[in-house]
Point group: C2
Chain length 281, copies 2
Amino acid sequence: MATPARYSSPPGRVPSIGLADVARSSDIALANRLADAAGAAIRPLFRSNWTHEAKADASPVTEADRAAEAAMRRLLDAEAPRDGIIGEEYGAERPDAARQWVLDPIDGTVSFMAGRPIFGTLIALLQDGWPVLGIIDQPIAGERWVGAVGQPTLFNGEPARARSCRTLGDAVLATTGPQYFDDHDAEHFMALAAKTAHKRMVFGGDCYNYGLLASGHIDLVVEAGLKLHDFAALAPIVEGAGGTMCDWNGDPLSAESAGYVIALGDPARLEDVIEGLACHH
Amino acid sequence: MATPARYSSPPGRVPSIGLADVARSSDIALANRLADAAGAAIRPLFRSNWTHEAKADASPVTEADRAAEAAMRRLLDAEAPRDGIIGEEYGAERPDAARQWVLDPIDGTVSFMAGRPIFGTLIALLQDGWPVLGIIDQPIAGERWVGAVGQPTLFNGEPARARSCRTLGDAVLATTGPQYFDDHDAEHFMALAAKTAHKRMVFGGDCYNYGLLASGHIDLVVEAGLKLHDFAALAPIVEGAGGTMCDWNGDPLSAESAGYVIALGDPARLEDVIEGLACHH
């Protein structure tokens, strides 16, 4: 295969804009307040009594999802009234703004509804379509990863580091579930999975897998079909921990990406992963 | 298909022995101390720095696994010296005893090694081969399910109740991972899964799924290839919460079972599940 353009880029995900400007400490503080507000809305509804009702598409969208996004939107409207918002539940506001907050109040709704504390609230800030700030917040366990371009990723305030991985055969691979791949994607995924430490493969987990990767407990996450609100927050977290995140072709993730995602703790294994997938999207 | 013998049995899993004798409060207190000891051994090692080394079979058996089982065995040797022990790590002692403690210090080693707080310590007491007492302990989140024949299951000291499920199409199904089924089993499993609320299907989770079922958050867990130490503790927990647990034929679980396991929150759906699997083992 051709070497992806990414390999010849200078380090860093957002090569063409001034990094110092894009993830200000005031933005990080606001993002933390958004996560606090979402967690306060979510916690009382975790493991409450659910009926078996669902929307027509059987997607488990919950009262908690809506309450958490509404709480975050109220804060953004008050504190960042000129920024755009792209929310999983309530759509887009000010879509022409250069700065866009991307909100997924509950990533991992299946886990949330099953009572598993491995879902997360995702908050990202895009600058000109590039994710420059991201938060994964797990409000039940009280766990938060914060990543910002040019800064070390923090887990509960302490630096997080992805781990090295000598060969692809050692890599612990995670993915949310086989049902999220279509037949064609599943074939490529399984070809890759067979080259990893597949007996230790982790299923389920959604965004939580990317936090665990940033903290050095998982080596590789590969998924397909993600939406912008599913992946925008993850890239700054993974990359600020020393890992790399890109699409299945090795191209950096942006608002234009198709949702085929690789997160890798040890960037030295990227060529092996892309060859293992043997698939261009 | 023929109606399984179970349907004509009197209620309760252990029909032929005196229930009052088999799960004494002193046994429950001892089982709780075993779980405390295992948790104390496990907690310091969770999310510690792992290398990529593994045993020859690539099973992620860890220092924590061994330390926790050793701690439980020391307590049993001191407090129940005539009882047998069947441990995942250190084998069997006094195999002819009528009472057998069955220990799985870390069920869900893949989750443990990936840093996910959804593994569990499993402790069961068998009387003449029948599980009469079971504990699932999650030592990081501080969550414990305790089940004993003839008593309501407790979650952190409060009664746990499985939920009702009007039709199989409403059922949220969980299973640890597709790689644990062989091709033949997977076919039957997928036939069943297609009849459940499969968009909300939960992957990963090991013993934790059975605790969540006992607490009314999941309706159905179906697995294959489990060992006695994987399932013995689960049956009293699920049944004490109003659910039912059996093999893929509908027969109750005992030391003789082959490890094809169904746990179901609403026993009224059992016939549907067994028909959905359409498979005798």
